[in-house]
Amino acid sequence: MSAINNNCKYISKKQVKITFDGNTYQAYEGDTIASALLRNNIRLVGRSFKYHRPRGIYTCGIEEPNALVQIISEHNEPNTRATIKRVYDGMEITSQNRWPSLRYDFGAINNILSPIFSAGFYYKTFMGPKGFWKNLYEPLIRRSAGLGKPPKNFRSKSTHQYHNTDVVIIGAGLSGLAAAKKFINTKYKVLLIEQDSYLGGVLKNSNKVKTINGLTPQEWISETEESILNSKNITILKNTLVTTYNFTNHLIALEDKFAGKKIDLNKSELTLHKIRTSNTIIANGHIERFISFRNNDLPGVMLASSFEKYIHRYGVVPEKEPVIFTNNSSSLSLLKTLINLGCKPKAYVDSRKKDNIETEIKKILKDKEIPFFSDAEIEGCDGNKKVETITIRQGKSFDKIKSSMLCVSGGYNPDIHLFTQSKGLVKWDKNILSFKPDTPFQKTITLGSTSGNYSFKKLCDEINEKLSIFKTKKVSLDINLNVPNKFSIKELWETKIKNKSNWAKSFIDLHNDVTTKDLKQAITEGFDRIEHLKRYTTNSMGTDQGKISSINSLAIVSKILKKEISEVGTTTYRPPYAPLSFAAIAGRSTYEFYDPERKTSIHSWHLKNNAVFEDVGQWKRPWYFKASENETMHQAVQRESKTLRENAGILDGSTLGKIEIKGRDALEFMNLMYTNAFSKMKPMTSRYAMMLGEDGMIKDDGIICKISDQHFIATTTSSGAPKVLADMEEYLQTEWPHLQVYLNSITEQFSTFNISGPKTREIMMRVFPDIDFSNDAFPFMTFKNFDYKETKIRIMRASFTGELGYEIYISPKFGLELWEEIFSCGKEFNLIPYGTETMHLLRAEKGYIVIGQETDGTVTPIDLNYNWMIGKNKKDFIGKRSLSRPDTSRADRKQLVGLSPINKKDIIEEGQHIVELNELPKKITDPIKYLGHVSSGYHSPNLNHSIGLAMIRGGKNLLGQKFFVTATGKTKNIPVEIVNPVFIDPENKRLTS
C-alpha cells in the first residue's frame, strides 16, 4: 500500500526536487529526507553496518539508527540522519554501505555468513599465517565496515556564539513552553532552545492532546510563542540541538542556520552556541523504544510514535494499513489518528492482558472491526527487503498477517542523556519501566516526560512546584486528551523466536547489527558487566548511541543475569547527545584564524623586500631575504652571513621578550631569578644572563640591562617571553611577596633592531650624528638613552654575531621610519637585512648557544662551560641546589664542544650523533653506543667548511680527539675533530673593536 498525504500546517506546499541514488523525487519544502522518501514510497534506504542487511526508516527524529545517508550535494557529507536533515531543491542524496547498488549489495554475503560473525569473532581468528592480518584480513574488515564514504574538502564558516544567562530551557515541547511562559516579563534572562523548526514537541508531533486551555494545540503553541517573543527577556533558538551539558552549567547547542536551504559557503551554516547559565531546565521529552523480535530490522518496521509524527508533523501517512504492536497505552492516539484519516490498521497487537487495555482502545477496535490480539506479541516478520508478512503469537497459536508496515511501541524512556551528562543520578522507575532523573548534581531541573512524569494532567503542578524557586507567577494548563491520562505498560523487551535457527536474528542494536543472541553469547563468555558487554558486542556504540534500544538491552541482560536492572546499571552517557559537526566545534578559529599571527612594526618592509618568514611561536619572523627570485635559502644565508662579517647587517629583533623590573628589592629579586650576580654590576651596563628551573636545567637566557639597583630591563627569547614573565610574577606573588618589585611586559612597546658587522659604527654615526659611538664613550655591554625626533630611543652595545654590534630600541610607532633611515644611511656600506637563519649561523660560528637547540631541558650552564655565569657566592638562586645533585654534578655529562670535519668537504648534519665507529652496519640490530648529538650544524661561509656544535659525554676532556658523525642515509660516517666551540674570533677582538 502506498503513502498518502495528510493536510499539515508545518509543511509548505512549495515543491522541491531531490535525487536519491540517482532518481529524482518530488518533495515539499520543510520535508526531511525521510518524510520525502516516505512520501515517494521509498522504504529501503541503506544497508546495515555488519551484515549489510536492507534497512529502512525506523524513526522520525534524532534517535534514528538506520536511515543514514550521504549528501552528495554537501561535500559528500556521510552518515546524515535522513530523519532530521531537511531537503531543498537540488539536494543530491545516496544510500550508504552497499556495492554495487542498494538493492543488490555484494556485502550481503555477510548476512549469510552471520552465524560465524558472532560477537567478538574477530578476536578468535585471523591470527595467522604471518602477514595475512596486515595484508588481507584487516583491509577486508576495514573496507566492509565503516558506513558512509569519506567526505570531500570543506572549509566551513560556521561561527560560535557565547551566551551568559540565568535560565536555559532545553526543549520547547509542552513542558518547555509552559515553563517559558512562567518567565515572560520577569527579570530572568532566558534561552529557550528547540531542535525542531517548530515549537510544540508532542503537541505538534502527535494527536495526544485535544485542547489546552480551550485552544487547539496548534493555537496554543502560536499564542504561547507570540507571548514569549513579545517578552524581551526570553530568546528562542530554533533548529538548535543541545548536545552537551558540561560542568558548572555550561551547555553546547548547535544551530542549523541552513535547515532546508542550500548552503551558502560564504555564510555561517552552523552556529555553535556556548552557553553558561545559572539554571538549566531540561524539558527535552522522551524517546520511544522498540521491542526485539525476529527481523525487527526489516524496512517497514517503524516506531509507532514516529509513524504518528510523520502524519502530524510532515503530513505524510507512510502506510494506510499498518499493523500496530504495543505494550503500553500510548498507541491509542495513533489508532485514533488513522481512523480519523479513514485508514484502518491491519491488526492491533497488544502484549497487555485484555483487562488492562483501555476500554477506549477496545471500543475502537471493535467498532472498526480491526483484528485485535491482546496478551499477544509479534514473533517476527518476513519479506524480501521489506516487511511482507507479520507473525503474531497469541498464547500457543500463530497468525500470519500481510502488511508492509509494522508500528512498534515498547514504551517510553525519559530522555535522560543530558541529565546524566550533567552528572545527575538516575533511578529505575517500575511504573514506567525506565530510568528517570533522581538527584541533580548541578542546578538542574527536569520537567515533563524527561522527569518521568507521563501524566499530562500532573504537568502543570510539576512545573509550578519545581519552578517555585524562581520569582514567577503560576501557570495554568487545562489539558483535554486523546489518550488515557494514566500511563500503563507491560514489561516486554524481546519476543521468543518460534523456530530456532542459526540465522534467526532479533536485533538489539540496529546500528551496529547487534542481536540479542550476541548479548547472550557475551554473557556466556564472561562479559557479565554491562560496560564489558557493550565493548565486546559494540551494543549502543553506534551513531545513535542506542537511543531507542539501550534500556532494552539492560533489561534483557538483567534477566539473563537474574539481577535488578538498577544493579546492572547503565553504561555511561557521554557528550554529545547526537553527533556534532567538527566544523561547528572548530568554528572560525581555524583555517585563516587557526592561530593569530603576530607581526612586528617592520613587517610590511620585510614583505616588500622578499623576506621568507619563519614561525616562531605566533610571531612571523624573517627567516632570510631573497636577493633575487632564484636565490635558494642556502645561497641567501651564505650571502647574508658573509656580507655581515665583511660589512654590516641588521635584524628585526622586535620579537624578543622585554620585561621592565622595578622596585626597592629589584636587585635581590634578579639575583634570585638568574644564575648571574648583579650586585657588582654598574648602572647602565648590561650582561648576558641565564635562568634555570628548580631542577637546575636551563630555561631561558637574555641580556639584563641594569639602570639602577632598583630598576632593570630584561630581555628574553622570543618564544620564552610569556613564560619568563609569568615565572617572575609567580615567584614574586607566591614565594617572595615580601620583595617590593613590580614587573611590566614591554615587549610590544619597542621595536628592536640588532645591527652588527665591522661597518656598523660608521653607519650608526650617520644615523645618529650626535651620538659618540667610540669605544671609550660607548663600550661593549653598556647602554644609553637618547632623544630621537619626537621620541626617545635606547641603544645598547651588544652582539649575538660576534661582530661589533648595537641594539636599538624604539617605540613601534617610529620603528619603520628609523629602520628605513638606517638603510638609507647604510646603503653605501653595503648594509643588508638578515633573518633568523643567518643569525643562527653567525652565533654558531661564535660558539654562542640557542635555547632549545643546544639546550633541551636536560642541560645545565655547567654543561655549556658557562660556569662564569653562575654567581657562586650567591646563597641561593632558582635551580642552584639542583646543580649539586649526584647526576647533575657528574663529570661525564653531555657537554658543549665544537666539531670540525677532518675532510673539509664533509657536511656535519644537525641532529646526527657522534660515534666511535667510522662505519655503521647496514641494518642495526644491537644498539650502537654514541657520545652525543650535533646540536647545531652549518656551513660556515667565513671558514668555508662545515662546522658543528655538539653535546657529548665528557666533552670537555675530549678536545683534539677524533670521532665520527653519522650521516643521513649513509653507513659511512664523517670523521671529525672535537674542537673549542668558538670558531671565530676567540679573543673577542671583533666584538670589542
Binding site: R276, R588, F593, P812, K813
Partner: protein, 174 residues
C-alpha cells in the same frame, strides 16, 4: 580614527590613544603622586574606570592601573610623565602608547557581536558601566573598558591585523 566596520547595530572604529601602565601599592602616597603628576585621582576600587573626554583611568587589579589618554600628545610628553612617575622607588610606570591598539565598539548589538568572539559575560550586572576587565577575545588577551554606550578594547599591537580581520569576518557572517 579609522572605521573598521559598520553593520546594523554595531560600529567599530580604531583610535589613536596613549597609555601608561602603572604598578604600585595604591596607598595614599601612591595616590598623591599620581594625582600630582596627572592631575587625576586614580580610581581606588578594583576594576573601576574613571573617564571623561580626555582620559580613561582604570584600576586593573590591586596593584595595577592603566591610564589611557585619548587626546593626541607629543610622545615626549608621555615619556616624561612616565619617567617622572618612575623617580619614585616603589612605582613602576611603563609607556604603552604605541605597543597597543585601541578599538571603540558601539551600537545596540555590541554585546551580541562581541559574544561571537568572547565568552566574557557582558551583562550589565556582571560588567557594569565604568568598570574594566582583562579577558580573552578572539583568542587573544584584551582589556575591555565599559563606558556605558560603548566599549574600548585594547590589545597588543602585534595582533592588530589579525584582530581587525577577525572583527570584519565576524561582521561579514552576521
Amino acid at each position: 580614527m579609522t572605521n573598521i566596520l559598520s553593520i546594523p547595530g554595531v560600529k567599530v572604529s580604531q583610535k589613536d590613544y596613549h597609555q601608561i601602565i602603572i604598578r604600585g601599592n595604591g596607598l595614599e602616597k601612591f595616590n598623591n603622586i599620581i594625582e600630582e603628576k596627572t592631575s587625576i585621582k586614580p580610581p581606588s576600587k578594583n576594576l573601576e574606570v574613571k573617564f571623561d573626554l580626555n582620559y580613561l583611568f582604570a584600576k586593573n587589579s590591586f596593584d595595577q592601573w592603566s591610564l589611557i589618554l585619548t587626546e593626541k600628545k607629543e610622545h615626549h610628553h608621555i615619556l616624561n610623565l612616565v619617567s617622572s612617575i618612575n623617580t619614585n622607588e616603589n612605582m613602576l610606570a611603563s609607556d604603552y602608547s604605541y605597543g597597543q591598539v585601541y578599538f571603540e565598539i558601539e551600537g545596540e548589538n555590541k554585546d551580541y557581536f562581541l559574544n561571537q568572539l568572547t565568552h566574557f559575560d557582558l551583562r550589565e550586572e556582571k560588567f557594569p558601566k565604568s568598570t574594566m576587565a582583562q579577558t580573552v577575545l578572539a583568542r587573544i588577551e584584551c582589556s575591555i573598558y565599559n563606558l556605558g554606550n560603548k566599549y574600548i578594547i585594547t590589545c597588543n599591537k602585534s595582533f592588530e591585523d589579525y584582530f581587525q580581520q577577525r572583527l570584519k569576518d565576524t561582521a561579514s557572517l552576521n
